[in-house]
Subunit: 193 residues, 2 copies
């Protein structure tokens, strides 16, 4: 649910054809998010099927035929909802870093601490690289600048979270290897059979 609405937003400014949407999408995101052309066409097919978009006409009877699409009233309505919608909650999207730490805890606190410190060092170097590139990207497009800003902010948040994870693990009563209460819930059942 990201490319779909992105294309819809571009079509809201006027009729476009597939290839044009690809280039404009990439331009709007500062070249940070390349978009495969094929996906534009399949996405346009789905949008047309759902009635959010319609074929306006085909210009150029020769080979590069430029099949033009336009947004419909339903499409405008769907787009309007998208602007106001806030990225989903309940359930929160599965995040790889969180999952990694949680699974590491399941394996054992010592292992979790090792994973956390390792992730922190890698993330820190990556953050510094991004900060450097942000300083150098003064002449870049606004879009590219904003994206790097967002990535920096996210990385900082992740680093802070890793710190709190470490504190939580160090403060809690030593349950050396694994969480005993949760693990037994499934294994006891098997033993009682």
């Amino acid at each position: 649910m990201a490319v779909r609405e992105g294309l819809l937003a571009l079509l809201h400014e006027g009729p476009r054809y597939g290839y044009q949407l690809k280039t404009e999408f990439e331009a709007a995101t500062g070249g940070v998010w390349p978009l495969n052309v094929g996906q534009v066409y399949t996405t346009l097919d789905r949008l047309e099927r759902d009635g959010l978009v319609e074929v306006r006409g085909v210009e150029g009877e020769t080979a590069p035929s430029q099949k033009t699409y336009a947004i419909t009233v339903d499409g405008v309505a769907a787009l309007g909802e998208w602007w106001e919608a806030v990225p989903s909650d309940d359930p929160p999207p599965r995040d790889e870093l969180m999952l990694k730490v949680l699974m590491a805890i399941e394996r054992g606190d010592d292992h979790a601490l090792r994973v956390i410190t390792h992730q922190r060092t890698v993330l820190l170097t990556l953050l510094q690289a991004r900060r450097k590139e942000r300083r150098a990207a003064g002449d870049e497009s606004l879009a590219a600048r904003l994206v790097t800003d967002a990535l920096v902010a996210r990385a900082e948040a992740d680093l802070r979270w890793l710190d709190t994870c470490e504190e939580h693990l160090q403060r809690r009563p030593a349950s050396a290897t694994s969480a005993p209460t949760t693990a037994s819930s499934t294994s006891t059942r098997k033993a009682s059979r």
Copy 2:
């Protein structure tokens, strides 16, 4: 690439069967990320196909047959890489909030500012709700606590980023409607034909 490695991590602690993996996965994530049982089986099929997992045996000749899976040496290796890997860069994952703001900018600075302020207010109330739930979740599992901590940190980062977006838009020379330089790159070509 999240459920797959999660199951692999659980299997590293010992042989498990499908349904067991579902319950343990949900327990490890503090019940925050429910996992459809069907996906466990399809994922196990793919893991077996890739040689990261193998069927250890089927216990119980009666109906609930409990088909047990175990991790292989290749599986252990793949898991080892996962612990050290840092969530991907280049290209950074498409994020809905970022895309939304970038597309709003494409439509016009005034529209972008409206979207930003709206997103900020919604995010702020959502953040306060999560802070409240975090304070109340003292007796919850460590996993659930860490997840809410992470979500709070992310929300704070997003809010800060929205602020910087607003500053960037307000400071830059008034290009009222849309970005003229980027938009012309594709439209001029069509006009020149």
